[in-house]
């Protein structure tokens, strides 16, 4: 039996950690993703655009009362594919 490895400990945050990165670190740590300082910094640079684009999904009036394109079937079963 193979033991499940321990999650990787996030790398040292270094001295460049600042308030702008803290929320992103928290979200990544909540998901258990051990992103490096450089990766967090790169995500931080992209995050404002990602957030703005995501917020824009709430803006069109037509979406206010729309149902999502999700699927759920009460009778569903899992069938193997081979």
């Amino acid at each position: 039996m193979t033991a499940t490895p321990e999650p990787i400990t996030p790398p040292n945050r270094g001295t460049g950690d600042d308030a702008a990165l803290a929320p992103l670190r928290m979200l990544l740590e909540a998901a258990g993703l051990p992103a490096s300082d450089a990766e967090v910094a790169a995500l931080a640079a992209q995050y404002p655009g990602l957030r703005a684009a995501t917020d824009a999904l709430y803006a069109p009036p037509a979406v206010r009362y729309a149902d999502p394109a999700l699927r759920f079937r009460a009778e569903a079963r899992i069938t193997d594919w081979a």
Binding site: E6, L27, L33, E39, L57, Y58, A62, A76, A82
Partner: protein, 475 residues
């Protein structure tokens, strides 16, 4: 190089006809494919696994069957390849990653692979991709970097990179790609071949390593629209393992001699941004004129919720991919390529409500697009605004996927799920392929294929060969 008769088949359709006319054998075609791979693949990085012996055995079986009147259809005896994110009993599946459990899918055929085998396709190997169909070209791990046969210094596109490069280079006549944000159509565009993303729910996606559960499409990549029709006829149809896949029969359509009565919406908005290739507009307008000359009526149209659907594509993909990968990512983060890690991390930066909102927005866009397609039979737009980019920038980390945002026009269609065919439409001044997309109503692939086939009877872009390969074939 094994001998073939004069004027060897250029397309799957021609190969199928030649096999039935007795002017070539499946063994000859397969030996030729293997010899071409021996010479070209060290440069192009098309294959992750080759099945030379199995392919030759399948070819011999096909020859024997065809000789005795057993005809499994147009794929019978034709060299074919499968992207290495689909399970195939004959070899491992890696998804071009060291992370994927080597036992995943072991000894099993994905439903579409089983259908290809039943149709007599000679599967020559499994083709390269980007890690889990997410990442970008990267040479930091053990896998080959796929290269474009039109210029090996450039990227063949992704993520169905090896299938696109292999068809263009003549390593096989057709192959399977998958498309979540453009992964059939981008390599089809950059490699100068034809790629069809079927309607979501047309082809079962079980047995394929998932990227975005609500976005993944499996479809054909080949030289021509007629080839894609033959492949789709084999792939399509429901399977009990895929609840998204509908019982919607597909048969290769009757071909048309004109486009009289066809209503085409021409999409230009946001498809010609600054920095587009200088040859793009001319090639696109020539293609549009060709449609008009064939009898279609044209009118300009704008895609509804274009920016929102691009966002919904990226957000949905990132969230669905993170759900699949989270356990591995927590423990084996650095075993993933950097570009894969960046995409997975984006999935952690949005909320559950954001994910649901993206699905609400997709429903609104589907409805708005459906209303436009009440007035038009198909919409036409460029697949990309640029030709294949240089690989160096990606390999050195100076460039990432975001540098192509705004120049690639595929993700919209994954978000709404309509079928789209990408067709070659000319070349840049540097001789690199350009591509046009035709999008249609859900489950109306037949009309896209008919138009594509007619365009390809009036042009020969899809039959052009990279100089590198043309020289090889002439040798």
């Amino acid at each position: 190089m094994p001998e073939l008769p004069l004027n060897p088949p250029r397309t799957l359709t021609e190969a199928a006809a030649a096999l039935r006319a007795g002017t070539v054998t499946s063994r000859q075609l397969t030996e030729r494919s293997i010899a071409t791979a021996d010479r070209a693949d060290p440069v192009l990085g098309v294959y992750l696994h080759r099945f030379d012996e199995l392919a030759l055995a399948a070819a011999d079986t096909a020859d024997a069957e065809l000789a005795t009147g057993v005809d499994r259809g147009p794929l019978h005896g034709v060299p074919f390849a499968v992207k290495d994110i689909l399970a195939m009993a004959d070899g491992p599946t890696t998804a071009q990653s060291v992370v994927l459990d080597p036992n995943w899918g072991a000894g099993k055929d994905a439903p579409v692979v089983a259908r290809l085998k039943r149709a007599g396709a000679v599967i020559t190997g499994k083709t390269s991709t980007m890690e889990f169909a997410i990442g970008m070209p990267d040479e930091s791990k053990e896998f080959p970097v796929p290269r474009n046969p039109w210029d090996p210094a450039t990227w063949p596109g992704g993520s169905s990179s090896g299938t696109g490069a292999g068809v263009a280079a003549g390593l096989f006549y057709a192959g399977i790609g998958t498309d979540t944000g453009g992964s059939i159509r981008i390599p089809a565009a950059f490699c100068g071949i034809t790629g069809l993303m079927p309607t979501f729910g047309r082809v079962p996606k079980s047995g394929c390593v998932p990227l975005g559960y609500s976005l993944d499409h499996i479809g054909p990549m080949a030289r021509s629209a007629e080839d894609c029709a033959a492949v789709l006829a084999v792939l399509a149809g429901p399977h009990p393992s895929d609840p998204d896949c509908l019982d919607a029969p597909f048969a290769a359509p009757a071909w048309r001699d004109d486009l009289a009565g066809l209503r085409v919406g021409v999409v230009r908005d946001a498809h010609f941004p600054p920095g587009s290739d200088p040859a793009l507009a001319g090639a696109f307008e020539t293609t549009v004129a060709e449609l008009a000359d064939a009898g279609a009526s044209l009118a300009p149209v704008a895609l509804p919720y274009q920016a929102e659907m691009v966002t919904a594509n990226l957000l949905t993909l990132a969230c669905e991919a993170l759900a699949y990968h989270r356990a591995d990512a927590q423990h084996r983060w650095t075993d993933y390529y950097p570009a894969t890690r960046a995409m997975l991390a984006r999935g952690a930066l949005v909320s559950g409500a954001d994910y649901v909102q993206a699905q609400r927005m997709r429903r609104v866009a589907q409805d708005a697009l459906g209303r436009i397609l009440d007035d038009f039979d198909v919409l036409v737009c460029p697949t990309t605004s640029v030709a294949a980019p240089e690989l160096d920038g990606f390999l050195t980390g100076k460039r990432d996927l975001s540098s192509l945002f705004g120049y690639i026009h595929t993700g919209y269609w994954d978000s709404v799920g309509n079928p789209v065919i990408a067709l070659p439409m000319g070349f840049t001044e540097a001789g690199m392929p350009l591509s046009v997309q035709l999008a249609g109503r859900p489950f109306d692939e037949a009309r896209l294929l008919q138009i594509g086939q007619l365009l390809q009877r009036r042009t020969d872009w899809h039959l052009r060969r990279p100089a590198l390969i043309a020289a090889e074939l002439a040798a």
